[in-house]
Amino acid sequence: MKHIRTIINKEWSEVFKNRWVISTMTMLPLLFTALPLVMLSMTGGSTMSAEISAESSGLPAGVVASCAGLSAVDCTQIYLLNQFMLIFMMMPLMIPTTIAAYSIVGEKTTRSLEPLLATPITTIELLAGKGLAAVIPGVLISYAAFGVFILGSLLLKLSPAVFSHIISPTWLLGVLVLGPILSVIATIFATYVSSRASDPRVAEQLSSMVILPLMLVMFAVLAGKLVINIWFMLIAIVFCAVVAFGMLHLGTVIFDRENILTKWK
C-alpha cells in the first residue's frame, strides 16, 4: 500500500500543478452542473401543465409512454433529466482520462519512467497507484457535482415526481456505482493508450474516445429508442464491472517493463 500511496501522492503533486488538468477538473463539473439546473429552471416556468400526450409534447413516443400520469412539464423535465444523468456519468470518465492519459507518456517524455521502473515497485502497484490517482478525483468531483445538483434541484422546487426521479434507485446506481466503474474502465484504457503514445496530447485525444459508447447511449435516449430503467442499470453495472475486471487483468499482463522501455517509444 505504501508504494501505491507514494504513486498517488506523486501523481497528484504533479498533475495539480498542470493548469490544463486543473481547468478541465473545474470547468467541466461547473458546466455540467450549471447547465441542467438552468435547463430545469427554464422548463419549470412552462405553461404545459396538462397531462402529457405524444402529439402535444413533441417528445419521442417511447418517452411519452413512460410518462403515464405525469404532466407535460414533468415529463419534459424527466426527459431532460435522463440526458443530464448520463452527463453526470460522463464526468467521472472525462476527468480521470485527462489525468491518466498523461500518466505514462508524461513519464516517458520527461525520461523519469526508467528510474521509476528500476525501483522495487510491482507492476500492479504502479498501475493501481496511477489508476487510483486518476479515478479518485474524478469520482469525488462527480459526487460533489451531483450533490450540488440535488441541492440546486431542491432550490428550484421541482415537482415531487421530477425530484423523486433524480434520487431514484436507477440514477443513484448510475451516478454512484456505474459512474465509478466507467471511470475505472476509462482510466485503464487511458493508461494503456498513454503507455503506447509518444505525445501527451495524442494520448489524451485517443483516450477521450472511451466516451463514445456512452454518447451512443445518450443519443439513443435522446431519440427515445432507449429508456433507462433499473434493470438496464443493473445489467450495465454487471457488464461494465466484468469489462473493468478483464481490462485490469489484461493491463497487468500487457504493461510489461521490457515492452515499455524497448518498444513503446
Binding site: P115, P120, L261
Partner: protein, 317 residues
C-alpha cells in the same frame, strides 16, 4: 559474497520488424564477474549494447539466455530484490520537473522502502550541496545540479551496487568533475560500481578494471594490464649517437624483447623495466654510448580501446 555481479553467457536478442521476423543480437554471451568494492568500467561504442546490459543487470529487461547473480540474487527469479539492492543512474535521467528536489528524493526513498526517509533525504541534499535549493522545483535547476540530484536519487536507498550509465555525458567540465569526485568517494566507501562510459580518461582514473564491449566482451582487465597485454612495456633510450651494433648488444641482455633503432634512439620492449633498465644503461655506457635520458612509452587506454573495437569491427565484416 565476493562477486557482487556474476554473469554467465548472458545474451539478449531483440526481435524487430513488423512481424518480429528479424533478430538483433544486442548482447552476446556475456560472462563477467565484478567483485565487492570494485569499480568496473564497461566501455564500448554507441549501440554496442551497454545500456541493454545495464537494463538486464538491473532487472528491467529479461535476458534471452544465460544467467546472472546480482548482489547474490538470481536474475529473472528475484528481480524485485535485485532492484531493491541496486541503484541506477540512467543515460538520460529525468526528474519530476514540477516537484522540488526534496519531493523528488522523498518519492524514491518511499519506493525503495528507506527506513528513515527524512534522514536519508537530508543527508544527500546536504552532501551534494543542494540543501539551500531543496524546496525549489527541479525544472529551475542547472544541468550540474540535476546530475547531482539523480546521483542522490540512485543512492538514496544505500544500494550495494551502483550502475552508472554514461554518468558524465553532456556535462560541463565542472559538473563532470563533481560526479567523478563523488564516484571516487563512493569507491572509498567500498561500494561496487558498474559504470558505462565513453570517457576513457575517466575510466582510466576511476576504474579498477574495464571491459571493452561490442555486443561481445572483447577483453577485460585493469587499464594498466590491458596496455601491457597489448603493447608490452616499451622503454626508449635516447643516445647522443647510435652504433648499429648496439642493437644486438642490447638484445642479448636477459629480459629484453624486441629492440628497434629509431634515429638516435633504441626502443626496447621489456618485461620488467625496473629490473632491466640499469643493466642496459651500464652495457651501453660500457660500449661507449652517451645515454642522454631514458623514458617509458605510455600507451593510453584510448589506444587499446580503439585497437580492440576496430579489430572487432574487422572480424564482423
Amino acid at each position: 559474497m565476493r562477486n557482487m555481479i556474476k554473469t554467465q553467457g548472458l545474451t539478449k536478442i531483440f526481435k524487430i520488424g513488423k512481424k518480429q521476423e528479424t533478430e538483433l543480437v544486442a548482447v552476446d554471451d556475456l560472462s563477467l564477474e565484478v567483485e565487492r568494492g570494485e569499480v568496473f568500467g564497461f566501455l564500448g561504442p554507441n549501440g554496442a549494447g551497454k545500456t541493454t546490459t545495464v537494463r538486464m543487470l538491473t532487472g528491467l529487461i529479461r535476458p534471452s539466455s544465460g544467467s546472472a547473480q546480482i548482489a547474490g540474487f538470481e536474475l529473472g527469479k528475484n528481480d524485485t530484490e535485485i532492484r531493491r539492492n541496486v541503484g541506477i543512474l540512467t543515460e538520460s535521467p529525468g526528474m519530476y520537473e514540477r516537484l522540488s528536489a526534496e519531493k523528488n528524493l522523498t518519492i524514491f526513498a518511499n519506493l525503495y522502502d528507506v527506513p528513515d526517509i527524512d534522514k536519508a533525504v537530508n543527508k544527500y541534499l546536504s552532501m551534494l550541496g543542494l540543501w539551500e535549493r531543496r524546496h525549489d522545483a527541479v525544472g529551475s535547476f542547472s544541468k550540474g545540479m540535476r546530475q547531482k540530484l539523480v546521483v542522490a536519487r540512485a543512492l538514496i536507498h544505500e544500494p550495494q551496487i551502483l550502475f552508472l550509465d554514461e554518468p558524465t555525458t553532456g556535462l560541463d567540465p565542472e559538473a563532470s568533475k563533481t560526479v567523478r569526485d563523488f564516484v571516487e568517494e563512493l569507491k572509498t566507501e567500498g561500494r561496487t560500481i558498474f559504470m558505462t562510459t565513453h570517457n576513457l580518461d575517466e575510466a582510466e582514473r576511476l576504474c579498477d578494471r574495464v571491459g571493452i564491449f561490442q555486443q561481445k566482451l572483447l577483453t577485460q582487465d585493469s587499464p594498466a594490464n590491458l596496455r601491457e597485454k597489448m603493447y608490452g612495456r616499451r622503454v626508449v633510450f635516447h643516445l647522443r649517437e647510435l652504433q648499429p651494433a648496439w642493437v644486438d648488444l642490447v638484445s642479448s641482455i636477459p629480459g629484453t624483447g624486441s629492440v628497434e633503432a629509431v634515429d638516435n634512439k633504441l626502443v626496447v620492449s621489456l618485461k620488467d623495466p625496473d629490473e632491466s633498465n640499469p643493466e642496459i644503461v651500464r652495457t651501453l655506457v660500457a660500449a661507449g654510448a652517451d645515454v642522454q635520458f631514458v623514458g617509458e612509452i605510455r600507451h593510453s587506454l584510448e589506444q587499446v580501446y580503439l585497437e580492440m573495437v576496430k579489430g572487432s569491427e574487422r572480424v564482423q565484416q
